[in-house]
């Protein structure tokens, strides 16, 4: 079943945030595979299947990208411009992760053609709920209760 699940890609330079999101996916009982890149340049290489990502050549592109704004080397705004220029990548939905409402407002003013903005939650439970609603919005997955002991 999980073979044909849409995968999620997260581009974020903070390993703790990567950990949080992958744990939240698990907690939300979502089996969608997730992988990571640490900055905009890596994200482009990942999507183009270049360099260290060349072994992914035959893998389908992710169905959703979670993008952090502030990253070294190439930040979220810069990479978005590249993504939206690309005929293939521009159709992948992008959710921008921000750390505050103020940051979100500034980011919105750039009008980057982004699908949605999300403030990174402070609590794990909120993150789990957020991941659940993102999944049901983007992948139409019904959320079932967690029945394992």
């Amino acid at each position: 079943m999980s073979d044909n699940l849409v995968s999620i890609h997260m581009c974020d330079d903070d390993p703790d945030d990567q950990l949080l999101v992958s744990d939240a996916l698990q907690e939300a009982k979502l089996a969608n595979p997730i992988d990571f890149s640490n900055n905009g340049l890596e994200l482009l290489q990942y999507l183009r299947r270049e360099g260290e990502f060349s072994h992914l050549k035959d893998q389908p592109l992710p169905g959703l990208i979670l993008l952090d704004l502030n990253m070294p080397i190439m930040d979220g705004r810069e990479v978005l411009i590249e993504l939206k220029k690309d005929p293939v990548f521009k159709s992948i939905p992008v959710v921008i992760l921000t750390t505050s409402k103020a940051e979100e407002d500034i980011a919105k003013s750039y009008d980057m053609g982004v699908n949605s903005f999300v403030i990174k939650p402070v609590s794990f439970d909120t993150l789990v709920n957020l991941v659940k609603s993102m999944a049901s919005y983007w992948f139409h997955i019904v959320s079932l209760p967690n029945t394992d002991k």
């Binding site: 950990l19 750390t99 439970d125 079932l144 029945t147």
Partner: protein, 559 residues
């Protein structure tokens, strides 16, 4: 929004094939694509499914031949904290069965003849909604909303359970109490949301550092409690606690700030330090305050001996790591002679290390400490490289043409890096081929893994020899000879030193020499300190010997 059931697995327990097919079709009509639908024809195969698989939804026909489906409900409920969906099916509308099904925990009771796709879809939708609520309530009761870790009340329960388990399995457990240092400071300086996020991120790091069997909970504002389970050796707790301390080395990004959080941790061990959970919590707390008093960013054991041991071990590790770098380690060399001709066959390279005051460390202790961590791999490479350089220098100066024996920890061979390092060296310096012997002590076991054996054989093919050190002191002497390609046995000095009297040691010594002869394995007697023992071994036809009687281990410039 379309609901998608393609990830769901359903078990239908139904003895009538027509009814099964009908229900299957109805389900597909009402829910769309479904992940898996399994079918059990009787209670026996249903029990099999319930035990070994987790379905999210169960449809159970009440009448299964002579048996009743009602009993299955109880089994399903027992297995799950929050039960999956269970719907009872019946051919007839029977109020008594309906009530019983409800009592047993079924979510609904449906009459087969009244089933329709619409009814099914609606029933399932309503049940899922109430299940999700039930789960939310259970989460609220057991988990801390901020960090997603267990909360205090469930933690106490889990701790009690773990203690019971530990009593049954006779294995130890440790309660670690962790308190963030100066958390108030962080809240004051960066604001409460930053403090909260810090706790959330720390929680994830902790959870990932621990084994899945360990329990981690947030038991107070900035306090975490951890149960480390199933540990036999108290020293392993040290490793685990050091791993926990490692979590805090890297700064944590919080709302645009890099925060260097530190913790004070206290450890109490069951059953050593306490007889019940209350006492264990108290002692672990006390140890945590000890750590705070020592200046924070550290840990403390309730049992001070263990703490001293931890501190000593840690200091040796730190010093050894820098000694490997700065060249204060040395190799000494002790000759191994042919007993008959008294000619030097080989030299054993032995590690020596002086402290700042010029006093030698106890090499065995240092190696034992290094072997508990990854440091042994680094140390092993240093010993090997240094010995090889020395040998090649002697070869060049025509000072010595024989073999070098190098001590190697089994741990090094259980890790393929070392073997690869040796192979590379032999390829680069063919003058080392047929010149190296690896001495492996029996006390640390080589893994009798095909891959390990294959590596040893590869090295034998390159002219390396393997020698069992301290033969006769471990438990696996003979099995070692059978499993691994060994060319040399070194009889331990505890046996050799007693061969002058007619006793067990003499008999064992004779037997080992005979085994060597039979298997074409060279036998070396270790620890010869006087002429009498040397003469006796010559009489016993022991081929080679080593000991203070011939020469102490000496520095390269003394030889």
């Amino acid at each position: 929004m379309t609901n998608n059931y393609s990830c769901m697995s359903i078990l239908i327990v139904e003895d009538d094939e027509d009814d099964f097919v009908l229900l299957q079709e109805l389900l597909e009509d009402s829910l769309g694509e479904i992940g898996v639908i399994d079918w059990a024809v009787d209670t026996k195969s249903a029990i099999e499914y319930i035990t070994h698989k987790n379905h999210q939804m169960y449809f159970i026909d009440n009448r299964l031949g002579a048996e009743l489906g009602l009993d299955l409900i109880v089994r399903i409920k027992q297995k799950h904290e929050i039960s999956p969906l269970i719907i009872m099916l019946s051919g007839v509308d029977d109020r008594l069965t309906d009530l019983k099904a409800m009592d047993n925990g079924a979510d609904d009771y449906l009459i087969k003849s009244q089933l329709s796709p619409l009814l099914l879809e609606r029933t399932i939708r309503y049940i899922i909604k109430s299940k999700v609520l039930e789960e939310k309530l259970a989460r609220l009761a057991h988990f801390d909303g901020l960090t997603g870790l267990y909360n205090r009340s469930i933690f106490n329960e889990l701790l009690n359970k773990s203690i019971e388990q530990s009593k049954r399995s006779h294995r130890k457990l440790a309660l670690v109490t962790i308190d963030l240092d100066d958390f108030k400071h962080i809240n004051d300086n960066y604001g409460h949301p930053a403090g909260d996020l810090l706790l959330t991120k720390i929680s994830r790091r902790l959870k990932h550092k621990l084994r899945s069997s360990d329990i981690v909970a947030r038991t107070g504002g900035d306090e975490f409690s951890i149960v480390l389970k199933e540990v036999d050796d108290s020293r392993h707790f040290l490793k685990l606690i050091e791993a926990i301390m490692q979590v805090f080395v890297r700064p944590i990004q919080v709302l645009g700030h890099d925060i260097n959080a530190t913790i004070s941790a206290g450890i109490a061990i069951f059953p050593n330090d306490a007889s019940d959970s209350r006492e264990l919590i108290e002692h672990s707390d006390r140890a945590m305050y000890q750590a705070k008093n020592k200046g924070k960013n550290t840990y403390s054991f309730y049992n001070q001996d263990l703490h001293q041991q931890a501190k000593y071990r840690h200091s040796i590790e730190v010093k050894l790591a820098s000694a490997i770098e700065d060249g204060s380690l040395m190799l000494y060399y002790q000759p191994i002679l042919d007993l008959q001709t008294q000619k030097i066959i080989s030299y054993e390279a032995l590690l020596r290390w002086k402290n700042e005051k010029g006093v030698f460390y106890d090499t065995e202790e240092v190696i034992a400490i290094a072997e508990q961590g990854p440091l042994i791999l680094q140390l092993g490479i240093w010993v090997f490289d240094t010995a090889c350089e020395q040998l090649m220098q002697w070869q060049q100066q025509r000072q010595f043409e024989g073999r070098f024996a190098i001590n190697v920890s089994a741990k090094q061979f259980n890790n393929s890096n070392f073997s690869e390092h040796v192979i590379t060296k032999l390829t680069l310096y063919p003058q080392l081929i047929n010149k190296l012997t690896f001495e492996i002590t029996e006390r640390n076991l080589l893994e009798s893994h095909p891959k390990t054996i294959e590596l040893l054989e590869k090295l034998v093919a390159l002219g390396c020899e393997f020698s069992i050190d301290d033969f006769g002191t471990g438990h696996s002497s003979i099995s070692y000879l059978r499993t691994f390609p060994m060319q040399i046995i070194k009889i331990d000095k505890s046996i050799v030193q007693h061969v002058l009297d007619e006793n067990k040691e003499l008999a064992i010594c004779k037997a080992i020499i005979a085994i060597g002869k039979a298997l074409d394995i060279v036998v070396i007697a270790e620890g010869i300190e006087d002429k009498e023992v040397a003469d006796k071994l010559l009489k016993l036809h022991c081929p080679q010997a080593q000991g203070y009687y011939y020469s102490r281990p000496m520095a390269q410039d003394q030889l």
